[in-house]
Amino acid sequence: MMGWNRNQMAERIAKEIQNGFAVNLGIGMPTLVSNYIPEDKQIMLQSENGLLGMGAFPAEKDMDADLINAGKQTVTAVAGSSFFSSAESFAMIRGQHVDLTVLGAMEIAQNGDIANWMIPGKMVKGMGGAMDLVASAKRVIVMMGHTSKSGSSKLLKKCSLPLTGVNCVNQVITNLAYLDVTPQGFKVLELAPEVSFEDVQKHTEADVYQ
């Protein structure tokens, strides 16, 4: 069983992005998606700290303390970008003007619930913008490992961790497969190379079908 690595997962998600989309990529693994956006598509990356039209990282000499992304990294702004307040930024998000949100998760339930902000007993750092992003997004794709470090399924019938949002995830991409959230459970849309449906089934606690 080979599966996708994180770059291949990012490349697969990038195929879902259409010309003209505004996309919010979560901190961490989802930012890799920006490396795979085809040249023939013009999109605007939204960063919830107040930037629509995020560009690549700057050259060292061009780093600007006043221009960062939601991960607090120095970035650049593309031609056609705009800056705005946090209230404006979340109006954009809540008002469903952002076409696609990609973020990581610790657990996903087959009804589309997501848990990605706290583990009871561990220091809680906060949800940042995650709850707003999932609650009102037009479309949410979760990008995560299929199983936890200990090997247990992260695709569950019901989340065990405190929720970030309910009924909000549309698709999930893992190292094993690209799956759709449906009323019958997770539907396999695409299998990673050399991964069988049985492999996916074996590593999934939730209902899964193809």
């Binding site: 303390a65 990294q73 307040s85 946090s86 209230a87 979340f90 809540r94 707003d132 609650a135 405190p162």
Partner: protein
């Protein structure tokens, strides 16, 4: 007679801040934070503060400086990582924390400044955040009632101002500053440059001066939290 809200001494601009007050402090991470006000608050030694700020700074910069001196009783934030002092005080129980989703925090502040006592949002429905909150169904969907936030003092950082207090922000250093400027009983703006009345293009003003009571020109370190760059030709 001209209106002049400009203070030459930042310490004078913060007169009236007392123990136990609720303060708003702009910024996202270390970007666009009121560096000077934080340092004056430290010198003043005011305690038992409730600070509404998206983040809590890092150990030795931003609000981390006021955590080190135990001046903060309670933080209302969306994300408080990257700060060991914070973690220690929180685990010891000496620091209260109210974690608020970032968009809800922004809108509660906006509502506070706009005279709207509350609003409904889908954010947090079905999560811990919803506990104890009123809900209402609109068009078949459940929303939470969230209430407005106001502050005794708001401390904001802007790029340019004129003596009336009209403010212009720079790039992503606006973040929470524009809403906080409107939600403070007294709003103190610290800026990089104060220009003459009439020099700011009225079409380009981000926050009209009516919201700003005091302002001063500051010196800023503008520390970068995550220096990220690409090597040439990579």
């Amino acid at each position: 007679m001209s209106i002049n809200k400009v203070y030459s001494d930042p310490a004078k601009a913060l007169e009236g801040v007392k123990d136990g007050m609720t303060l708003m402090l702009g910024g996202f991470g270390l970007c666009g934070i009121p560096e000077v006000a934080i340092s004056v608050l430290k010198d003043m030694g005011v305690k038992e503060l409730t600070c509404i700020s998206n983040n809590a700074g890092v150990d030795d910069f931003g609000l981390g400086l006021l955590l080190q001196t135990h001046q903060i009783k309670k933080m209302m934030s969306s994300y408080v990582g990257e700060n060991k002092t914070f973690e220690k005080q929180f685990l010891e129980g000496s620091l209260e924390v109210d974690l608020i989703p970032q968009g809800t925090l922004a809108e509660r502040i906006r509502a506070g400044g706009a005279g709207i006592p509350g609003f409904y949002t889908a954010t947090g429905v079905g999560t811990q955040i919803a506990e104890g909150k009123d809900t209402k169904i609109f068009e078949g969907r459940t929303y939470l009632l969230e209430t407005a936030l106001k502050a005794d003092f708001s401390f904001v950082k802007a790029w340019k101002a004129d003596p009336y207090g009209n403010l212009i922000f720079k790039k992503t250093a606006a973040n929470f500053n524009p809403m906080m400027a409107k939600a403070g009983k007294i709003t103190v703006a610290e800026v990089e440059e104060i220009v003459e009345l009439g020099e700011l293009d009225p079409d380009q003003v981000h926050v009209p001066g009516i919201y700003v009571q005091r302002l001063f020109k500051g010196q800023f370190e503008k520390r970068i939290e995550q220096k990220t760059f690409q090597e040439k030709n990579s």
